[in-house]
């Protein structure tokens, strides 16, 4: 699990928390910067053990780029799926065919699984009920085939390949 | 003498209480000693302040350098410091007794809570700000609930829960009263409220008084809000009961006296009309009489010594409320004196009862039959305490009750005589049931005892008994303090000018 040493994780936390502090106290001033650095270093000291999988290597440009690409993709998926669900809700006959199906992922790390599950949950129409090892149990509001391979491709596939750019 | 240093009376218990968990890690015994020493310091300091104040007149202490009515201030008059001295004295004795009893695991926390309860009671009698009083009343009531529950029996939790529920409703009503007061007058300082309370519309004013009643009657064990008394006293350990009746109800009665008489100005001179018909003095007298009658009659039917003492304590509160309701200076002097006597004698009675219960192994008075033969000393001390409460001549309760009767006769309306007859009748009932306990104790019967009693317990009880006897023989010991205390209650002008500065009334 511990892919990076303590210092590296501490440094990651330090940078991220300091940046977040600057976002909290938006109109920039030097006093805020100093305070943010101190507070970030201090909190990161205690919480570094919770930054599994992260470290200095997380700041590699390819990973950040991956994250930046991923955000618009997930937003677009959310909007698309929301419109689909809106149509279902508004139609008087309520055309739903719910089912709980399984799908398999290739992601290894917990944090990757969490991001994937959250992405699935955020797109309406699909909802992660549980994860056992690498099997996702997904509740779908409208599904044609309950086949596992189909589900893996259609639901997980579209997020997974982008996610793998920045998490394992 | 710089009066701002009087804050140490409140700050030191708080600081020590915050440190108490650290002491608890070193050893449980240390926490008990620290508690005792803190009370001893407070007691000594309060006495020195009391001397100063009696000589030089009331003083104020300001907090944060903000002068009243803008900041919070302490009002150090003879009355407040006298009551604070009583409170710290009772706390000191009980914590000394507490050192003696066997160690339990929770003792470090218990001594912490005791420290905070007594400290908060001391703060209530000194503060000069309405909301600050509320905050400290909350500390007092939460701490008291913890103390009640600490015996870890079903009964004690029931008592604590009842107390919590009544306390919460009371504090909600108190907050409403604070809201109304602030909304109309725009201030929370007691002196400024006293100065301008007559400006409030009478309907609203009487409503504020009613709501305030709900808040403080819980602590003072007075009629509509005293349903918690029997359960809580029965559930709690007896030495905790000494704090309950000696400290908590003292603080509650002080709040009634100060806020009702000085601040709201409800006395014979200018009465507040409640919806145009009733006057509040009469209500207070009625409440006092009802509380006394209920207390004494229920005590008569009980077998459990803790419950008997609890109902008796409720009845004494009724007597004091009656004295406040009478409203002239003689009666009020008697009331304050009786508060003192009650605190000391009840603490004595509860501590002795604790020792007896520990010795006999039961709190039923039937099981105590023959205890006096076995341990004459304790039984005599119990008798001294009981005589003090009843008011046998040449014991302390006698003098205070004489003052109250004197005041009631001076008022001389048929309504007062009528009420007084009830109080006297109730006192007779009291004589009856106390003598029943004493008679049973000196009955001839073999008794087996279980536990040894620590010498510390004897020392604390003897100290209290000495105070009871001394005050009984020299009742004039405190007379100048008592007179200036009761005069301070009536002298609203002096109160206002002391707090707000001399030039205010120009």
């Amino acid at each position: 699990m511990n892919s990076s040493n303590y210092f590296s994780r501490w440094f990651f936390g330090f940078i991220v928390l300091s940046l977040l502090w600057l976002a909290f106290t938006f109109p920039f001033s030097l006093a805020e910067l100093y305070t943010g650095l101190v507070v970030g270093a201090f909190i990161s000291l205690f919480t570094a053990k919770y930054f599994e999988e992260f470290g200095i290597s997380s700041f590699a440009p390819s990973k950040i780029l991956g994250l930046l690409i991923y955000i618009p993709i997930i937003l677009w998926e959310i909007i698309k799926a929301n419109i689909e669900v809106a149509i279902i809700v508004l139609s008087p006959s309520l055309p739903i065919e719910p089912a709980i199906i399984t799908a398999k992922t290739k992601l290894k790390s917990d944090i990757g699984k969490m991001f994937l599950a959250n992405s699935i949950t955020l797109t309406p129409g699909t909802l992660t009920v549980d994860i056992i090892k690498d099997t996702y149990f997904i509740h779908c509001i409208k599904i044609d085939k309950t086949d596992e391979r189909y589900a893996t491709e259609s639901i997980i596939g579209k997020f997974e390949k982008h996610l793998r750019r920045f998490v394992k | 003498m710089n009066m701002n240093y009087a804050l140490l009376l409140i700050a030191v218990p708080l600081a020590v209480a915050f440190l108490q968990p650290l002491f608890g890690m070193i050893g449980k015994k240390i926490t008990k000693w620290v508690t005792f020493l803190t009370f001893a310091f407070n007691f000594a300091y309060a006495i020195s302040l009391l001397n100063f104040v009696t000589a030089n007149g009331p003083q104020i202490a300001v907090i944060g350098n903000w002068r009243p009515p803008f900041g919070i201030n302490l009002y150090l008059s003879t009355l407040s410091l006298f009551l604070a001295t009583i409170i710290y004295f009772v706390g000191m004795i009980v914590s000394f007794y507490f050192i003696g009893i066997k160690d339990k695991k929770i003792d470090d926390k218990l001594s912490l809570v005791m420290l905070l309860v007594v400290g908060a009671a001391g703060a209530i009698v000194m503060t000069g700000d309405l909301f600050n009083m509320f905050v400290f009343i909350e500390i007092l009531s939460i701490g008291t609930a913890i103390l009640i529950a600490s015996r870890d029996k079903g009964m004690s939790y029931k008592g604590a829960l009842k107390y919590m529920i009544f306390g919460s409703i009371g504090s909600a009503m108190l907050l409403f009263a604070i809201g109304f007061t602030y909304g109309t007058l725009g201030t929370l300082n007691l002196a400024e409220i006293a100065l301008r309370f007559h400006e409030i519309n009478p309907t609203l004013a009487s409503f504020i008084v009613l709501l305030f009643t709900g808040g403080v009657f819980v602590e003072a064990e007075l009629f509509p809000f005293n349903m918690w008394v029997p359960d809580s006293y029965e559930g709690a350990s007896p030495h905790i009961n000494a704090i309950l009746s000696g400290v908590v109800s003292t603080a509650g009665i002080y709040a009634i006296m100060r806020v009702f008489m000085t601040v709201f100005g409800i006395n014979i001179g200018d009465k507040i009309l409640i919806y145009g018909k009733l006057n509040f003095n009469a209500i207070l007298i009625a409440i006092g009489v009802i509380t006394t009658i209920i207390g004494e009659l229920s005590a008569l039917t009980q077998k459990d010594i803790k419950k008997i003492l609890a109902f008796s304590s409720m009845a004494q509160m009724g007597v004091i409320a009656f004295a406040i309701g009478i409203g002239n200076q003689t009666a009020l002097t008697g009331g304050i004196f009786h508060l003192f006597n009650h605190a000391i004698s009840k603490a004595l009675l509860f501590l002795v009862a604790a020792m007896i219960i520990r010795n006999v192994g039961s709190s039923n008075i039937d099981d105590m039959e023959g205890f006096g033969r076995h341990n004459k000393f304790l039984a005599i001390i119990f008798a001294i305490g009981a005589f003090g409460i009843i008011g046998i001549p040449f014991f302390n309760g006698f003098w205070s009750k004489m003052y109250i009767i004197d005041g009631a006769v001076m008022r001389s309306t048929p309504w007062t005589y009528f009420a007084l007859s009830f109080i006297l009748g109730a006192a007779l009932v009291e004589v009856f049931y106390y003598f029943r306990i004493i008679y049973k104790m000196f009955n001839d019967k073999k008794i087996t005892t279980k536990n040894r009693i620590h010498p510390f317990a004897y020392i604390s009880v003897i100290l209290l008994a000495i105070v009871v006897l001394t005050v009984g023989i020299y009742p004039s010991l405190f007379s100048n303090i008592l007179n200036s205390a009761s005069a301070g209650i009536f002298d609203r002008v002096h109160y206002i000018t002391t707090v707000l500065g001399m030039g205010v009334l120009r």
Binding site: F26, N82, A86, L90, I96, P98, D130, F137 | -
Partner: protein, 108 residues
């Protein structure tokens, strides 16, 4: 900026209401979770970002708020779905397959 903001807020408000409508109309708990919480999440998200567009100085903070919503909302709704399934809330009659049910026994 102003127009974008107003459009975003309108979208957000409408999606919130659609989510609420879904909450009322859907036959069983899981479908309600599906439509309601997530639609509302998008609603809140775009409302917040829309406000950020109306006052550009607020944009960074609104993005922070919206990000936190996106991070927290799915966790709670996932946990709720799992809990209800373990607790035994039935699925609606329309459900065709329930592969989770057989597995849960093995896990314990």
């Amino acid at each position: 900026m102003f127009i974008i903001g107003i459009i975003l807020i309108t979208i957000g408000v409408i999606f919130s209401t659609l989510g609420a409508l879904g909450l009322v109309r859907m036959p069983d708990l899981y479908n309600r979770l599906q439509t309601s919480t997530k639609a509302t999440t998008l609603g809140a998200f775009s409302t917040i970002i829309g406000v950020g567009f109306l006052n550009p100085a607020w944009l960074i903070k609104t993005i922070v708020i919206a990000t936190f919503i996106l991070l927290t909302a799915p966790i709670s709704s996932h946990n709720l779905a799992r809990a209800s399934h373990k607790w035994g809330i039935p699925l609606s009659d329309k459900t065709s397959v329930d592969k989770y049910d057989s597995k849960t026994g093995k896990e314990e």
